[in-house]
């Protein structure tokens, strides 16, 4: 009797299927700080991209308030040394900082994945050449090199021609002329050039391991092309570490861009990123040091949220990947 009951109820009733996404989200949401991080990051994005629509000020309009104005209802973060509204500038700076970092991260990840996958899959001289290049670039002192290249580009030394629709699009998002947007995009290219190497190495390792698996051989035996195997088997199967590394890279790029802008070789005035706003208050730091607090806080919040999210993603996507 009891057996019959079991059969009718528990065994035949198939357990509800848990999708991969639900599983990952379940593990991710256990990391409370990461969930907070997601909200903070969403908040920063919304404030930066939607916030300016509600601001009565132009980010570059001077004397909308007093010089070094205090915190008032009209200017919640005060006004700066030429009377610009700091809050409006912060939001526009967020557009530059966040979007620049996003572009750099996505582009460098794409390059890293392609180089790593091709290099790991084909091996031979392609692999040797690519990995020597990666080794070489990883032994270089990155920060000073970035500074030198950026310093040169500011003086017009790196002529990179972007298609006009691209500069117009970014100019529209950043509320600046296409020429100025081009300057920021050159900075993005410089950052991309030094950002893809570690991911290429990571993906290559993954692909080397995956290629030895039986299903890769089976796909080959079935006559699948190399491109198909790389795109449909190698890359999707190494997606977990790619996502994790990309998340951490995003945080890294935000900090690197801010550091470059902070010493004066990143985003150039009158455009501003969070890093260059921090640079802007350096001269007055002994008079009103609290002015350094807000732009830095934005960078700190963004980078910490991303680090928490990356940590939770690592646990959620691939529990074996514990570092």
């Amino acid at each position: 009797m009891a057996v019959a009951e079991l059969g009718s109820q528990d065994i035949l009733a198939r357990p509800r299927e848990v999708s991969q996404l639900e599983l990952v989200w379940g593990r991710f949401s256990k990391h409370k700080l990461a969930v907070v991080g997601v909200w903070v990051l969403i908040g920063l994005f919304v404030a930066s991209f939607a916030g300016p629509l509600f601001s009565p000020y132009d980010p570059e309009a001077q004397f909308v308030g007093p010089i070094f104005g205090d915190l008032t209802a009209a200017n919640p973060f005060g006004t700066d040394d030429v009377g610009r509204d700091v809050m409006t500038r912060l939001m526009y700076a967020g557009r530059i900082s966040l979007l620049l970092a996003l572009v750099v991260t996505v582009a460098s990840s794409a390059i890293g994945v392609v180089v790593g996958a091709v290099s790991g899959y084909f091996g031979g001289w392609v692999d040797a050449l690519a990995m020597r290049l990666v080794d070489f670039m990883l032994t270089l002192p990155i920060l000073p090199l970035l500074l030198i290249m950026s310093a040169m580009s500011i003086r017009g030394g790196l002529p990179i021609a972007f298609p006009e629709p691209l500069t117009r699009l970014f100019g529209w998002i950043w509320d600046m002329t296409p020429e100025r947007a081009e300057g920021v995009l050159i900075l993005a290219v410089i950052l991309i050039a030094f950002q893809w190497q570690s991911l290429a190495r990571l993906v290559r390792g993954q692909v080397l391991a995956l290629r030895a698996q039986a299903y890769s051989e089976a796909a080959q035996a079935l006559g699948a092309s190399s491109l198909h195997i790389i795109a449909r088997h190698m890359i999707p199967n190494s997606l977990a570490p790619i996502i994790v590394a990309t998340t951490f890279n995003f945080g890294g790029v935000i900090i690197t861009e801010a550091a470059l802008s902070f010493v004066g070789f990143g985003v150039q005035a009158p455009s501003a990123s969070w890093g260059s706003m921090l640079n802007g208050v350096r001269d007055f730091i002994m008079l009103q040091p609290w002015r350094a607090f807000v732009p830095g806080l934005a960078i700190f919040l963004a980078s910490m949220s991303i680090n928490f999210i990356g940590d939770a993603l690592r646990d959620a996507l691939d529990p074996r990947l514990k570092l």
Partner: protein, 352 residues
């Protein structure tokens, strides 16, 4: 081992030649690079108009009229020797050329060596501080895994890793210089490595410029700023490495034979856990050195990083290039050193 070392050093030399070549070429080919800067400078500083002969002479003086490869080999190796211009010994023999702007016509090496002591002091103190703090914290939180302190340490390391150094520096100035001054406490002077003149601090009295106390006070904030990131990263690493070692059989054996726990941790676990840390620290040193660029800028601390920023701002390419060379040598050297030290401290690793 000897063969390995020779091969590694050979490779390192190639890397250096290649990287210096790339950077040299970039600076050399940059349109409107050095010449415009120099001519602009001459125009401002002299009453005489710049004539074509002057331009030719200047170009010759800086080897800018030569083809790229010749300019590079002359800069790097002092070859080929040409009749119409002074000989150069080349970087390989310690001749890094003359500075253009930061300290005009002074040998770059001298310019570079002047702020070296300040940077070395800053690096040594912050590395030591980071190690002294990170290792005990990492060990403690590993031994007491999942305790409240462990969670606190983990949260703290995340804070440290995410903290932008330039913001941390500004916040330290806000607290220790600005607020302390308002509260009437002995505040920390926020700029320069040495004071220009004597000054008075509350409670501490008069501080003589250039004394040990003066230098020490001015070192505190840069050291804290520079070491925080390393502190966070290294304590995290020590914790992970310690956790792994504590699971090993020989630790269980040591406990089983009745050793007291403290002895097991200090003698058997810690010593093995620290081996990978040696590599991490060695590899981090050039990064610390490069990271000092930002820290030195915040505190206006006269080190090599600040010199590099000055050189970039004033387009003094020889100085910038020389700084980059020093840093490249350090980075490449640290890579070789890390491998060698690793084999020395861990006899299980053999180099083929």
């Amino acid at each position: 081992m000897t063969n390995y070392l020779i091969r590694r050093l050979g490779e390192s030399f190639l890397v250096l030649v290649l990287s210096s070549g790339v950077v040299f070429a970039m600076l050399y080919l940059a349109p409107g690079g050095p010449m415009t800067e120099i001519l602009e400078f001459r125009r401002q500083s002299s009453r005489f108009p710049v004539n074509p002969e002057d331009i030719e002479r200047l170009k010759r003086q800086f080897d800018l009229d030569l083809p790229l490869w010749q300019a590079y080999t002359r800069w790097a190796f002092g070859w080929p020797v040409l009749d119409d211009r002074p000989n150069r010994a080349g970087v390989i023999r310690g001749d890094l050329g003359l500075s253009w702007r930061v300290s005009q016509n002074e040998p770059t090496l001298q310019v570079l060596l002047r702020p070296l002591p300040n940077t070395l002091i800053l690096m040594t103190t912050s590395t030591l501080l980071a190690l002294v703090v990170a290792v005990p914290i990492g060990v403690y939180s590993a031994v007491n895994q999942y305790s409240r302190v462990d969670y606190l340490v983990t949260a703290g390391t995340f804070l440290g890793i995410s903290m932008p150094v330039f913001w941390l520096g500004s916040m330290l100035i806000l607290l220790f210089s600005f607020q302390f001054k308002q509260w009437g406490l002995p505040y920390l002077p926020p700029g320069s490595a040495v004071a220009a003149r004597d000054y008075v601090l509350p409670l501490l009295g008069e501080i003589e410029a250039g004394t040990l106390v003066d230098r020490g006070l001015r070192l505190i904030m840069p050291t804290l700023t520079l070491s925080l990131l390393q502190m966070a990263a290294w304590s995290r690493f020590t914790r992970a490495s310690m956790l792994e070692v504590l699971r090993q059989d020989y630790v269980r054996t040591a406990r089983a034979k009745g050793l007291i726990e403290r002895f097991v941790i200090a003698r058997h676990a810690l010593r093995n856990a620290l081996i990978p840390l040696i590599t991490i620290v060695t590899l981090a040193l050039p990064g610390l050195y490069g990271g000092a660029i930002i820290t030195e800028t915040i505190f206006n601390y006269q080190g090599m990083g600040l010199l590099f920023i000055d050189a970039l701002t004033q387009s003094d390419w020889p100085v910038a290039l020389a700084y980059l060379m020093v840093l490249s040598v350090l980075t490449v050297g640290a890579n070789v050193l890390a491998d060698v030290v690793y084999t020395l401290v861990d006899p299980r690793i053999r180099i083929a």
